[in-house]
Amino acid sequence: MTGRARDERTLRGRVAVIGIGETEYYRHGASPDPEFKLALKAILAACEDAGLDPREIDGFSSYSDDRSEASRLAAALGTHRLRSATMQWGGGGGGCCAAVANAAASIVAGLADCVVVFRSLAQGQYGRFGQAAGIHTVSGERSYLMPYGVLAPPQRFAMRVQRYMHEHGVRQEALRSIALASYHHAQANPRAVMHGRPLHAEKYDASRWIVEPFHLYDCCMENDGAAALLLVSVERAKDFASKPAYVLGAAFGSGHRAAATAHNAPLYATASFDTVAPDLYRMAGVGPSDVGVVQAYENFTGGVVMALAEHGFFRPEKANDFLTFDNLIAPSGRLPLNTSGGNLAECYMHGFELVLEAVRQVRGASTSQARRNDVALVIGGPMVTPASNLILGSEATL
């Protein structure tokens, strides 16, 4: 392969988001609609936003074993044909950007022309992530954890964050600032489940521990709903109703033996972006100082601290200085963070609401618009593998 051909192996400037849509976001178990219907509604909303006939969709992409299966969706929507159906393996919400990358890759490779990327969740119908009842025996990774009461995600990730805070002297206040920023932005966002329910420092400090070092407000919600976006090749980006947001780069994966079972990853106290963040910046042709606004998946605030550090916004030892409320809020903080309210306060749509919010930022249509919005970063679920990330940009960045 020639050097030039290798250089062309990129998503940069090849694909654009032309439509976004979501259902109403509900508290977990509160959706009046079943999960598959939620997925359909979100996809139709994205088509409406783009001005696209849903029958033109020829590819589907999702993650975390989404139950709304591609072929059933294609049949339900009466699409002319199905050409691409990709599911990101493992990683839970760590796949929210990888699903976009897989869809973009399908388009760039000529496998499909119009791919919808989505996530749908109805936890009343299918159960919650945060409870582990009804299991008699366990094997593999879980067998080394569950009998010791390390059952659900809060307990699985707290020890990583505890170790990180120990290694780098990170204080609880850094975690608190992240929670406060998400709740602050949610107050401007009528879609947010926590709209009208503000959080302040005293309320955070007084909230109960879920598992130290996570207070209640360090932990994501669990919600019902669905969210979707539409991707087409860059040549068609301007043929639709809404302002396009361009994919500048995407990456996913993890470093050496990140999945070594029972907490044996060599780089334990990390968010799994040690290799993935450099890959992203290399493809996007930008660095952390070019990024104007960040959506960073909060399964737990501690993971956001790690993820932001691994994306080069500060050294871990400087986390306490950087992660202040004022630095993290739109429009003019140093790094406006989770401007829709994110998983903590908008909706836990398994991180896909973060991808939609990055599109809104690039469009200039956020309810908490950042002053610098040409380059918008999304960081998928931290501390998992595979993790993933995504940079969107305006036309001016191409």
């Binding site: 409870q131 009842a133 009998p147 020890m159 505890q162 070594a260 079972t261 907490h263 334990y268």
Partner: protein, 160 residues
């Protein structure tokens, strides 16, 4: 029945080897008060959790090797919110991540019996204590970790 020798109540998921038998020697070892960790016959790399292949040299010849159950606290957490019905009455409780420097630094999760509100310090030396669940079906055993100084005091009281 949850006896005083059980740190957490009965009713949590029971660990068993996979159908393919990968980790069965580990769980059988705990029942015999032995801590077994995989070690590569060819390159001597320690490996935990188990796998069919050595991650360092790709040999399939791994031997379950006796390891002294001592280590030091690598990380910890104090759990307050029960994620399982069996835990509703027992918060808080402590879980540890322990590293074993004499076994290649492999880590394993266990509980820290004693006062659940005690201050936990990363780096503290701990000693493994086997916890047998003979009433369970299937029978299984766990490995918890006492602070080394408490274990020493217990040994001297019992004349061991």
């Amino acid at each position: 029945m949850s006896g005083p020798t059980h740190y957490l109540p009965v009713g949590l998921p029971i660990p068993v080897g996979e159908p393919d038998g990968l980790s069965t020697p580990y769980w059988m070892g705990l029942r015999e008060n032995r801590l077994l960790v995989q070690r590569c016959d060819r390159c001597c790399t320690w490996q935990f959790g188990p796998e069919w292949i050595c991650h360092n040299c790709h040999s399939f010849d791994l031997t379950w090797t006796d390891v002294e159950p001592t280590g030091r606290i690598y990380s910890w957490e104090r759990v307050w919110h029960p994620s399982h019905p069996a835990l509703k009455q027992c918060a808080p409780y402590l879980a540890l991540l322990v590293e074993l420097p004499h076994a290649g630094g492999v880590r394993m999760v266990g509980n820290l019996p004693g006062d659940p509100r005690q201050t936990v310090v990363i780096g503290t030396e701990v000693k493994g204590v086997f916890e047998h669940h003979l009433e369970a079906d299937p029978v299984f055993s766990l490995l918890h970790w006492w602070l080394q100084r408490d274990a020493d005091a217990s040994d001297s009281r019992s004349g061991a």
